[in-house]
Amino acid sequence: MAEICLGFIVLGLTAYGVLGGADFGAGFWDLTAGGDRRGGRVRGLVQRSMSPVWEANHVWLIFVLVIAWTAFPLAFGAIFTTLAVPLFLAALGIILRGTAFALRGQAGTMREARLLGATFALSSVVVPFWFGTVLGGIASGRVRARDPAADVDAWLNSTSIAIGVLAVLSGAYLAAVFLAGDARRAELPDLERAFRARALGAGAVTGAAAMVALLVVRSDARPLFDGLTSGSGLAAIIVSALAGIATLALVWTERFDIARGTAALAVAAVIAGWVLANEPDLLPGQLTIDAAAAANATLTALVVSIGLGLVILLPSLYYLYGLVLRGRLDQAYEPLDQRFRPLSAGDEEQP
């Protein structure tokens, strides 16, 4: 039962890493798009692509949290005590980014759009970084299970920083792949080319950063490195690397829809690899999965409810993403600097 719950958490983390990560990555491209005029086209596409899905994508985070504190309460309490600072900073970033994004769609002047856009884009880069430092702290065995206390070293260390940077980059990579596909669907060849180039560049940089991160982990957190370079951990890392390379090839040959799948697989494999590398521990060297798990009555109740929940959720998500990918919910495309017609959702003619 504990393994199934951990499986739910891995599923949630993967979905959040891929879908939520891509939304953060879209913010990265929004941030680096340039001035009002030049960046207006990129920002218009970001706004249009994210609008119908970002809330659902965000809920995966909640999904992970509620399962974590129900199934592994002790580990949850220890993690949130030790890593309180980056988690709080991430939470603040989440408020700023979500609100700024929702309101930017309604901005009435360029100045408002600039302020809201900058808030959205900056926090989109910061939040995954903090989440990455949290994962780094956990994975490198820096969270104590007994008498935990806030600890700067738990998140300000080389593994945390490496994973934080990797989280930002992989989000940007995913976003570029997804946005290239969206640009094609919207029949915007210039943006398709722009995001294809970004995807290739970000893919190469992310791959290189992943190598560096592995070297950092080797010197900073040897047990984690050994887990990742042997047995099932190694298998997952190889899958991730292959999927990453395949994605680059698919983007090169402009098959963006398949590339969505392989890019997601690359991220999913890393998360799975991390969990496999830790087995049988949940908090490395501190707490095993079994010791951290709640009582059986709770685990059973949770598995039953989440299992039934997924029976509702998965078709619903399929319906949402199906509508989105077939362009059924698409708004008319408009570069953001020209788009201060508020209430635009649903008001324009179908393109």
């Binding site: 809920v59 935990p148 709770t298 409810s305």
Partner: protein, 473 residues
Amino acid sequence: MTHSAPAGRGSLRRVPDPGLLVLAADQVTGALGDNVAPDAIEARRMQALSLAVHIPLVCFGIAFPAMFMFVHGLYLRTGAPHYKALAKRWSKVALILFAVGVVTGTILSFEFGLLWPDFMATFGDVFGLAFGLEGVSFFVEAIFIAIYVYGWDRLPERTHFLTGIPVVIAGVAGSFNVIAVNGWMNNPQGFDVVDGQVRDPRPWEALLNDNLWHELVHMYLAGYIVAGFIVAGVYAAAHLRGRRDAYHRTGLVVALSFAALAAPAQVIVGDWAGRTVAEKQPVKLAAFEGLPETTQGAPFTIGGWYDEDTNQLNGGIEIPKLLSLLATHDPNGTVQGLGTVPADDRPPVNIVRYAFHTMIGIGTALATLGALFVLVWWRKRRLPRSRWFYRAVMAAGPLALVALIAGWITTEVGRQPWIVYEVMRVSDAVTGNDGLEVGFAALVLVYLGLGGAVAWLLRRLAARPPERELARS
């Protein structure tokens, strides 16, 4: 001690007899270690601020989907374009409020861990199931509100209407689960305490606790009252400025009807809630009224100030026997006093008492206003004509918000000093980390910015001419 519901009775609660109260062995200090912070005020302030920001949005999550779906239904039946324009407008506002609710709700779940790690570590497996279910309904809400709002004029009409229905259901289901946790904190059951350790969690029993039902109905109606009066206030203002076309009139009548029907019903539910508190949390009820000693035929006092040193209620206007009548439905009924528990186990009386009185005062006024509207509409088939009525409706929204927050202060400050009522103290659950002042200051700044931005945006939205449908018709 077993926190379970014996067959045939609602639940075990301590008999309100001072001799049997609170044994240390029944209490839990937490699984993470002995990080006791005697003064949890910073953490409580932070949590209270975050909840106060989030709860008004929850009201809209509960009530607004039902409101726009009702208007959407009117459109499907009549084909009148102003109904479509209004449903569209409301659903767009609902989406923005939902987005803000998503992020402010996320902060709450972070704060559970950041501020109360020992509460989560000790009891997460008891009450967590409710949040698991909440996660699912939240997901459904996020998926379908996006499909519904972005589906206007894009999906086939019938399909589009159907995609709105899960939004209504999920809004209710979500609050059900969150209220279940709050009910459980106030009336904990579904676990055993053995030597200060929590054992044998029974999550379904914890989920379906005895406080769930009245709290749920109370909050559900509050959602309709708050959202209904706030929305109605916008159209009442328009009415006073002379905008009385079918579009504005529908906005006023629909929103006001929801609120006006809920407000009088809330009086009855409030009575139910009050009597449950009298039975299950007698010390909390004593704090509502500042009742120092157990009294037969206890009076109800309006105004005055409770002196916690002398344990006396000074000043105020006393209405004989009313408290006994309200709490037990018997003018000579016995009401337990604060003196039945040690001073350390009592909530801060004046805050709880004034919050309680604010809530029932405003609640009564809103019920009267609602009843007046229903009466005029029913007897004369028209809106009231007095300008004062519209001014009152404009004031009713903000007042309903105040009553909402006052109600939550009543129940949550009234729960003090316990995080799990009479089992775990807030001071045992709070984080041992420093720097909460900094976090609080940062949160205040972020929320000020957020509040300002949302208010500015909604004002602008309200000032904008109605959707295209009207121009076309």
